[in-house]
């Protein structure tokens, strides 16, 4: 018959209309400012600098290697290296950035800087309500504004934070193992050096005791 499909269609929309008042899960709209959804695991908005411990200056992981500055497609990162050095997490004396600016209005959240950073020092944050009334200073973030503790990283990207900590720990362990090995090598070298020194001392004493014989043949250099 002619009108059949129309009636069926109307029944469906009627069910929807009254259903939306009765059952709550039909109405999927989240009323944004009041009700917020938890950001997904791999949400990424704008980068931030990670620092260990509680003091941003000392614990900053970034060693101003400027790889991210070169790799950044829109070139929105600006780093000035420092003259002096400070120890990094491995105790090695490293340079640190005096100024580390990111222009948020230019950054396109591509997270290439996160991929290329060898020191796990720049990660993507999930904060997106960044509107300011000042286009220049408001969106040109300095080191102080970018630096956030590792605990924030754990809160925001729990899984990635664990992986990154594991990498750093492994790195540190390797460095310590190397340091230990280097230390042992040094100790062994000193021991050898000491033994060799005593040997030479005895040899010189023997020569002093019998001055007349001809000078000893050239002893092969101790390597």
């Amino acid at each position: 018959m002619l009108g059949e499909q129309i009636i069926k269609g109307m029944a469906v929309t009627a069910k929807n209309f009254f259903g939306s008042y009765v059952s709550k899960e039909r109405l999927t709209t989240v009323e944004y400012p009041e009700v917020r959804l938890e950001p997904k695991e791999n949400t990424r908005q704008f980068p931030f600098l990670v620092f260990d411990g509680d003091d941003a200056e000392k614990g900053l992981r970034c060693v101003a290697c400027q790889i991210c500055e070169k790799e950044c497609p829109p070139q929105c990162i600006y780093i000035v290296k420092s003259k002096d050095k400070k120890p990094d997490y491995k105790g090695q004396m490293q340079v640190y950035p005096v100024t580390f600016d990111i222009d948020i209005s230019v950054c396109m959240s591509c997270s290439i800087c996160v991929e290329v950073c060898p020191f796990e020092s720049i990660k993507m944050d999930t904060e997106f309500e960044l509107s300011t009334d000042d286009r220049f200073d408001g969106l040109l973030w300095g080191k102080k504004k970018l630096a956030k503790p590792n605990s924030h990283y754990h809160k925001v990207h729990a899984q990635d934070a664990k992986d990154s900590d594991a990498v750093l720990a492994a790195e540190k362990a390797k460095a310590e193992a190397k340091a230990k090995a280097a230390a042992e090598a040094k100790v062994k070298a000193e021991a050898e050096a000491k033994v060799k020194a005593e040997a030479e001392a005895k040899a010189k004493a023997a020569v002093a005791a019998a001055p007349a014989p001809t000078p000893p043949p050239a002893t092969p250099p101790a390597n």
């Binding site: 018959m1 002619l2 009108g3 129309i6 269609g9 109307m10 469906v12 929309t13 009627a14 929807n16 209309f17 259903g19 939306s20 008042y21 039909r26 109405l27 999927t28 709209t29 009323e31």
Partner: protein, 398 residues
Amino acid sequence: MFDQLDQIFVTLKHLLMGYVPERWQPLVSAVISIALIPVIFPGLFSIVTILERKGLGRIQNRPGPNRVGIPFTKIRLAGFGQFIPDGVKMLTKEDIVPRAADKVVHFLAPVVMLIPVLLAYSVLPFGKNMTIADFDAGVLFFFAVGGAVEVSVFMAGWSSRNKYSLLGAMRAIAQMVSYEIPLILSAVTVIMIAGSLNLSEIIAKQNHYTAGIAHWYVFTPWGFVGFILFLIASLAESNRTPFDLPEAESEIIAGYFTEYSGFKFALFFLAEYLGMFAICTLGMTLFLGGWTAPFACLTWIPSWAWFFGKLLAFVFLFIWIRGTLPRLRMDQLMNFAWKFMLPMALINIVAAGVWHFMGADSLRWVYSGGILAVAYALLGRGLMNKQKLGKRTYRYAE
């Protein structure tokens, strides 16, 4: 007590008239009853725009507007404050007139559209003896004035000097003209049975009750078919979905009011809604007994409450249809008007004639209902299998 409540506005007006000197009484009484129209119905229009947006939202499982409330307070009014910012936005938008446009006609078009629609309200009964001008030929006046809207649609389309708005205007006029005939023919059946063109008499004829149920014309076979035809034709007449091709965004931008913005666009928008209310009121008066109560036990509710209740029910039906049905293509739209609505309306007149002359025995239900059922089946099947949506043939565009 209920009768005073029913006649509260009439007594109010007489009270006011008491203060007016004798010489000025006709003028002041006219002014009072006329002034009510541009106050009440645009108010209803603003509420209906919100109902429409919330209704469509709820049909699509989203809450619809619920933000605007009283400024500087937390009260949200569940979105019913939305029409204030909409109105302010509409009025403060810049009114762009295209350079090539024909200034005078471009300016007159919304005015010429609003005049007939507001004229049509003078005839409609809003409650017991609450009609502004109870003409002897009320229905004829309504259709005559309703027909004048097409001139303004043409003026709007042509004066914008824009191919799309001219095409949109042509389509709108073609649709309005071809749906006006079934509209008038389905109204003719009611006039034939009620025996008068005067709307108050038509309502008086429907105002009796047997076994508690009102004598509305919609409860007769020809009345029901007439009501459905009238409903479909009024959907087309007020350019509502599924017949809103002339002003569909996906088709020709905004049809004949593409080049309008700001206040003029608001006037078109208002005229369209007022036209919808007027045609709904007429449909309700002809088939659903205007301001009469459906059941004898409910007659204590005042007549104007019934009027606005039924009007809002009609508006909800229109919103419901708008949320459901897809838009008809131009040729389907015309096919439907000329090949289904018109023959069905004519057969409906025959059925009403049979009903009228067969007296009150129950056999007339069988006959009149039978004619209509057979006609519906044949016309329906004719239209349905013709819909073998084959390749479309164009008469002009090769």
